[in-house]
Structure formats: structure tokens, C-alpha cells
């Protein structure tokens, strides 16, 4: 007993101040890549290097269409290494959670030189229009109502619908003294019947499809669903195949998407609080809007 008290006194407070205080992120953390679209001369090396197809190119006669999808990205940094022009930079951005899947996607169209290099940026679409845009005013009202009911105290049921366990490691870390989710009035519960939010990781496998749908049905209204990680958003590196159906939103409606592979605990906090209306979305239409690139 003496050792326990001695250790507690010695240790003092270890809990971080985020989100009230800015996050302290180590210098070598690999966050979101940032693209200098206007000066980008050649997207092919980066697209070739991308393990998941988060950077995809389509070529037509004299045009090249480059699609960047943060929802597929596993933040490996290969694109920045492959692209020697400096148009792709790795940043330390981690607050990447969004409410609309389309907000994670940017499409750039280029006119090409005869040698295949990109001449000029013809158009840039940040974010994809979604059918929900029409419903926006109504949805806002519903959201506000949900935030009022759930905003102060939230019970989360975590569902692993087929992940590699990487996301679970980081979600589990939210319970440790460093991130201590309970200080924000949020805690994990054992049953979906006690939950206000499902935190779901993917890719959703064929064998977990039914279990996920049943878990969703067992959760009382109003409820929120947050899809975690590249696989939970899009199927990630596994993609869709005979054994998986892809992202969580193919099975249940999703309120917030948290990119990452896995998302670091700060990013998870941001996404959960975003779903509650207690934090703001930082990625606006396909472009992350926070700190400066560091390399």
C-alpha cells in the first residue's frame, strides 16, 4: 500500500489538456499529406507509390484527373518521398474528422504537356457535393437536438467490425490516464443498449455485417455512429473483396468519419467531440486547415 501512495505522489498529473489546450504532437509524427495543387507538375510518382490508391489518376486525351482521398490514406508518407518536386508535403495535421464522406475528397484536373507533365490546373473540386446538402437546414436542427441530449454525457459502444486491431489499440488508449476520456463526460459501455454512440472500426467483413447491423438496431435513439480509420471509412488497404464489404457506411449510416491508420488518440477525441458538436470540423472541403507543414 505504501508503494502505491508513494508512486502516486511521485507521478502527479499526467493527463493531457487537449482539447482545451493545443495538442503537443511529437516532431516526427506523420500526419496528413498536403498538396500544392497549382504548381504540381506530375502526380504519377505519388500515385504510383500510394499503397491504397488514396492518390488516383485518370487520364483522358490531354487531361489528367487526380483524386485525393483522405478517407483511403494510411498516412505512410510514401507520396511525399516519391514526389521530388516538393508539391507533396507531410504535415503534422491530425484533426481530420469530417461529417461528410465527400469532405475528405479533392479532385484536381490538369491540362497536360505532350510529354505527360501537368501544364495547368484546369479545375479543383474540394469536397464532393452530397445529397445531404439539400437537407442541410433540417439536418442542422436534428443535430442540434442530438447535441442537446448527448452533448454533456456520452456512452460509447465500440464495435470492431473486422479491423486489424490497430484502431482498437488507440481507442483503448483513450481510457488510460494520459487521455482519460472520462474527464470529458464520455465513457465506454459494455452493451449497445446502454450506448449513445457506436464507434466502429472496419473494414466491415462479411462475417461481421450482420453483427454490426444488429448492434446498431440494439442501440436506442437518438444515436450517433462514428467510423474510425481508413478501413472503417473506405475499406482501406483491404478494399472490398469476397470477404469484406468495405466502409462502415455500407452497413449503417455514419455521422462522423475519423481518418488515420490508426488515428492517434487526439484525432479520436476530435472526431468524437465533433460528432457531439463540441469541436469544430477542421478539414473544410478536402483541405486540411491547420498547422504549417514541417517538412
Amino acid at each position: 500500500m505504501f508503494h502505491i501512495f508513494k508512486k502516486a505522489a511521485q507521478t502527479r498529473l499526467v493527463t493531457i489538456g487537449y482539447p482545451q489546450e493545443p495538442a503537443r504532437i511529437p516532431g516526427h509524427f506523420r500526419g496528413a499529406p498536403r498538396f500544392e495543387f497549382s504548381g504540381w507538375r506530375d502526380a504519377r510518382p505519388a500515385a504510383d507509390a500510394c499503397p491504397t490508391g488514396a492518390i488516383a489518376i485518370e487520364k483522358s486525351a490531354e487531361r489528367r484527373r487526380v483524386t485525393i482521398d483522405y478517407g483511403l490514406c494510411i498516412y505512410c508518407g510514401q507520396c511525399a518521398e516519391a514526389d521530388r518536386s516538393g508539391a507533396v508535403k507531410i504535415t503534422r495535421d491530425f484533426e481530420l474528422a469530417v461529417r461528410e464522406r465527400g469532405d475528405l475528397i479533392t479532385i484536381a484536373e490538369y491540362l497536360l504537356e505532350p510529354d505527360g507533365m501537368q501544364k495547368t490546373l484546369a479545375s479543383l473540386h474540394k469536397g464532393l457535393p452530397s445529397e445531404n446538402d439539400l437537407l442541410e437546414p433540417l439536418e442542422h436542427k436534428v443535430q442540434e437536438r442530438i447535441h442537446k441530449i448527448l452533448g454533456r454525457s456520452l456512452a460509447i459502444r465500440e464495435v470492431d467490425a473486422g479491423s486489424c486491431n490497430g484502431c482498437e489499440i488507440e481507442i483503448g488508449a483513450l481510457n488510460n490516464p494520459v487521455y482519460d476520456l472520462e474527464r470529458l463526460g464520455i465513457h465506454f459501455v459494455a452493451s449497445p443498449r446502454h450506448a449513445d454512440m457506436l464507434l466502429v472500426t472496419g473494414p466491415v467483413t462479411r462475417n461481421m455485417e450482420l453483427a454490426l447491423a444488429k448492434t446498431y438496431r440494439a442501440t436506442p435513439e437518438p444515436k450517433l455512429v462514428v467510423a474510425v480509420g481508413a478501413c472503417g471509412i473506405s475499406g482501406g488497404i483491404f478494399g472490398r473483396n469476397y470477404a469484406t464489404v468495405g466502409g462502415v457506411d455500407t452497413v449503417v449510416p455514419v455521422d462522423v468519419f475519423i481518418p488515420g491508420c490508426p488515428p492517434r488518440p487526439h484525432a479520436l477525441l476530435h472526431g468524437i467531440l465533433l460528432a457531439l458538436g463540441r469541436m469544430e470540423q477542421r478539414v473544410t472541403k478536402g483541405h486540411s486547415a491547420s498547422s504549417e507543414p514541417f517538412r
Binding site: 508503494h3 508512486k7 516526427h28 470492431d160 462475417n207 488497404i237
Partner: protein, 531 residues
């Protein structure tokens, strides 16, 4: 067994001469592998003879070679304490009778692996004592996804019928507790069906493969440099070990020796992975017996290691670091310094943590003799890694088949005979201290030099094995290269696949409330098993 006595014992070549089995082929492929072939009728006597001579059947897997007009091949991977090499014996299956002789009755360790071959390739394991499906659930249609003529993007119709038929639970006062696949904690999915009589567990039936995502098939789609990332996603807590095993197989296939600095850097990272998992597990075991304050400190220490991971690699789980040929980025002196300093702090804090845990008699009372895995059963089931070493199995790939820079740090493998939760925790404690020593040795030896070499494009049909002692146990990757820089086949064997049957044995006779702590003491990977 210590290193000198290993060297004086029998090697595979001597076993071959004495065992009286006719091998169609016997070829030393490289310094880590012997490739051999036997006729299909000789498989059973061959396996029996090699086991008689103290070899261990580490893996059984199949390959569809119909594209090369060779039908199917079955591979038997043997490991011996007496030989640093792996012996891979293959046999071809005649096209007109798609079946192979099962050895599961004699070697229970390959029970699931043979059934996987049945499910994935549609080859019959003749004489298998329990030939039911394992890797595909009962409600799946009759498909064989790893056959070459099965397209990976096939969309299967909605499933109907029972997922799995469990052995009935019968008897007065005997009832069943079904749990999962969605569990109460933040863990992976699987189904446990307990048959209990009051509190004690009579038996446990497992249903795994809920997270099966077609990884082995997916490996055949990706170019090799991208496939590394898939390897890192086989089991989230073993990203670096799986990535390294995969890269080792590629390097061996290419005949490339990685630079000394890369070897040492990999060793550091492999041990960091062991550290954060071991200290996390020690805390989790404490939690499961209601000792929350110990877990609070343990998870704090785990965070410390994760911050070192991030400082050295950019990723808390060590993703995106390893690459074929070495490691992707070199370390600057400040990074190494940060690591050394953090580990110095970790060491004394870990001593404090263990003082807290060891000072609690009630904790010891809950852990001792709980979840006993009999050493004989452990040997029969081919249990590997931490769970094996707690039940008397003196094996560790780092010592027995050194890779990376482990040949520079000979060490004593911690082994216990008692096989309970306490000893599985003790193995982790001993290995944590060992890891700290290994990392410190590596950091002092980290002389400047290249951190990566280029791997030449691989021609088709290069085969090689990569083996890593992950924190959980033996990880094997076997590859065959294909055309256009892709793989023809990648076989993955995670230690969890060996060890689930051990959990079934260990829980018998224990009370239901002790299941969480017994399960945690094994801490097996569902994703690594299911792939």
C-alpha cells in the same frame, strides 16, 4: 538449452540420413532454408520420422500451381532446435484426386491449418479427426478463395443458415453462456461458447474468423513495395514484426543482405514493439483481477514507449518504417538520445510498477494456478511464444534462428514449467528486462552506415521464408514471387493460430469470472488468426 549444445546436436542433413525416408529432392536453398520434396504417400511417415528426431512441424500450407500446370502443392515447414535453417518439404497433389493425407491426429498443432487448406483450396484432408470448416463459416457457399480461378472481388450472396453448429450443452444444472462476436470490452470479435456447471467452466468452444478479410488473397494483387503495408495490417499490435517477417522473405528471395545498421535498427524497433505490448499486457492482467492502479501506471509506461515509437518512426504503432532492404529512414542522434533517455526512465518506473504488483498478495493469489496449461499439452498442441515458454517450451526464434542483429546479443530464454497466468506474466516481465538490455546494446553499437539497400526486381518463382519472434510468438511469412513485381502467393502464420487451442485447455475447470484474466494472459490476435 544453451547455444553451444545446440550446435553439437543433430542437423537436418543427419536427420535425413537416419530417418529412412526417400526424398525426391533435397536442396540447400540458402543459409536459412532447405527445400525438399517427398511423394504424397511418404508424407505421413516423413512427418512421423522428423518429429521422432525432435523436429517441430511449424506450419502446413498449400499453393495452387495450376497456372504453372503443376496442380496443388502442400508444404510442411519444420523447425529444429538443432538447426538454424528451416526445412520446407513439399508434396504435389495429383490433379485427379484433390486430397492430401492429414497428420492432425498425430500432430494436433496443425489441426486448424489443415482445415484452412480444405476451406481455402477445396483439398480434402484425408483422415482428419474433425474435418469441419474452420476458416469459412458454415453459412458460406462452397467457394475456395485461394484457388487461382477464384476472382478476389467475387460478391457472395447474402448468407443463410447457421454460422456454426456448436456441440450441445447437456446435463442437469449445466448451461451455456454464449459470448460475442461483439464483446463487452474494446477488443476484437470472436464467439465463445462456454458450457458451465455453476461457476466452473466444463469446456469452451471457439468460433474465430469473424475478421477474415481475404488478406492472403489480397497479397497476390499488390506490388511488393505496397504489400509491405498490407503485412503491417495483419495484426495491429504486431505491425513491425509482421512487416519485418515479410521483408525478410523478400530479401531472402532476392539474396540481399541488409546493412548492419539496418539490422540493428530493426532489432531496436522489434524490441520496442515487444516492450509496449508486454507492459500493456501486464497492466491488463492486473486490471482483470481488479488492480486498477497497477494498470494506470502500466498504461502510462506503455504511452512512454509509444512516444518513443513515434519519435523514431513517425507512427505510434511503428507503421511505415520497415521496407525491403532495411528501414525507410535513418535516425538522427537526437532521436536515438530521446529513445535512450526514455528507456532509462522506463526502466526504473517499471521496477516501481513490479514492486506494486509483487507487493500485492491478493493479486498473486488470483494469478497463481489460474488458467493452467499443462506442459505436455502445450507441446502436443505446438504452442509458441510467451504462452509456450510459460509452459516449459524452450523456444525463441531470436535465439534459435537469429535474424536482424540478434546474433550479437546471445541471451537466456526465460522458461517456466508452471503454465499458469502468473508465469505468463512472469515471462513478460523477464522479457521486458531483456528487451531493455537488447535495445541498450543495439544503441551503443549503432555505428553510422547505410540504413537501406536497393532490392533488385525479383524474377518470377523465387520462394523464401521470413521468420520473426513477434512479442506473441513465432510469425512466419512464406512467399512465391510472380510476374510484374507481384506475388504469386503469400502465406502468413500468426502465432495466435497455434495458440487458441491452448486457451480452450487452460480455461477448463476455472471459474467464469477468471476467464478474462486467462484470456488476457494469452492475449491472442483475432485478426492475425482470421487474416
Amino acid at each position: 538449452m544453451t547455444l553451444p549444445s545446440l550446435l553439437s546436436a543433430l542437423q537436418f542433413d543427419e536427420v535425413r540420413q537416419r530417418c529412412g525416408i526417400v526424398f525426391v529432392e533435397w536442396r540447400v536453398a540458402n543459409d536459412a532454408e532447405i527445400h525438399a520434396e517427398v511423394a504424397i504417400d511418404d508424407v505421413r511417415p516423413m512427418v512421423a520420422a522428423l518429429i521422432e528426431y525432435g523436429c517441430r512441424l511449424a506450419a502446413v500450407f498449400a499453393e495452387d500451381r495450376s497456372n504453372a500446370d503443376s496442380g496443388f502443392l502442400i508444404y510442411y515447414v519444420f523447425e529444429s532446435l538443432r538447426d538454424q535453417r528451416f526445412l520446407l518439404v513439399r508434396t504435389s497433389i495429383p490433379l485427379n484426386s484433390p486430397a492430401f493425407p492429414s497428420v492432425a491426429a498425430e500432430v494436433p498443432a496443425v489441426n486448424w491449418q489443415e482445415r484452412e487448406i480444405q476451406d481455402w483450396f477445396g483439398l480434402v484432408a484425408e483422415g482428419h479427426p474433425n474435418p469441419r470448416r474452420v476458416a469459412l463459416h458454415d453459412n458460406w457457399p462452397e467457394i475456395h478463395p485461394l484457388r487461382k480461378d477464384f476472382p478476389i472481388d467475387t460478391v457472395l450472396p447474402p448468407f443463410e443458415g447457421e454460422q456454426h453448429v456448436y456441440r450441445p450443452t447437456l446435463g442437469e444444472g449445466v448451461f451455456q453462456i454464449p459470448v460475442g462476436p461483439v464483446h463487452a470490452g474494446i477488443i476484437e470479435p470472436g464467439h465463445f461458447n462456454f458450457a458451465v456447471a455453476g461457476e466452473p467452466i466444463l469446456y469452451l468452444q471457439l468460433r474465430m474468423f469473424y475478421t477474415h478479410k481475404g488478406i492472403e488473397k489480397r497479397f497476390e494483387q499488390l506490388p511488393i513495395n505496397r504489400a509491405v503495408y498490407l503485412a503491417e495490417s495483419i495484426s495491429g499490435d504486431s505491425s513491425f514484426s509482421h512487416g519485418t517477417a515479410f521483408c525478410q522473405a523478400i530479401e531472402r528471395a532476392a539474396g540481399v543482405e541488409i546493412p548492419t545498421r539496418a539490422k540493428r535498427m530493426r532489432t531496436v524497433l522489434l524490441e520496442l514493439e515487444r516492450l509496449y505490448n508486454h507492459v500493456g499486457d501486464i497492466g491488463a492482467i492486473a486490471t482483470d483481477v481488479g488492480f486498477g492502479v497497477a494498470n494506470a501506471h502500466a498504461s502510462r509506461l506503455r504511452e512512454l514507449i509509444l512516444s518513443v515509437n513515434e519519435e523514431l518512426s513517425g507512427s505510434r504503432l511503428l507503421r511505415g518504417v520497415v521496407c525491403p532492404g532495411g528501414v525507410r529512414h535513418d535516425w538522427e542522434p537526437q532521436q536515438v538520445e530521446y529513445c535512450a533517455e526514455a528507456l532509462g526512465r522506463f526502466e526504473w518506473e517499471f521496477a516501481d510498477l513490479m514492486q506494486i504488483i509483487d507487493g500485492s498478495d491478493s493479486t498473486r493469489d488470483r494469478l497463481e494456478r489460474t488458467g493452467f496449461l499443462d506442459p505436455q499439452k502445450a507441446r502436443d498442441l505446438g504452442i509458441v511464444g510467451v504462452a509456450g515458454r510459460a509452459s516449459g517450451i524452450d523456444r525463441d526464434l531470436r535465439r534459435d534462428h537469429p535474424y536482424a542483429a540478434y546474433d550479437e546479443v546471445p541471451f537466456e530464454v526465460p522458461v517456466y514449467q508452471e503454465g499458469d497466468v502468473l508465469r505468463r506474466m512472469r515471462v513478460r516481465v523477464d522479457e521486458t528486462l531483456l528487451s531493455l538490455w537488447i535495445i541498450r546494446e543495439m544503441l551503443t553499437k549503432l555505428i553510422p552506415g547505410p540504413h537501406c539497400v536497393a532490392i533488385p526486381p525479383l524474377p518470377p518463382d523465387c520462394v523464401a521464408i521470413g521468420a520473426v519472434e513477434g512479442w506473441r510468438g513465432e510469425i512466419l511469412h512464406w512467399i512465391r514471387t510472380g510476374s510484374h513485381g507481384r506475388l504469386e502467393r503469400c502465406k502468413i502464420k500468426d502465432p495466435s493460430l497455434n495458440n487458441w487451442p491452448a486457451l480452450v485447455e487452460a480455461v477448463q475447470g476455472n471459474i467464469v469470472p477468471d476467464f478474462p484474466v486467462i484470456n488476457k494472459s494469452f492475449n491472442l490476435s483475432y485478426s492475425g488468426t482470421d487474416r
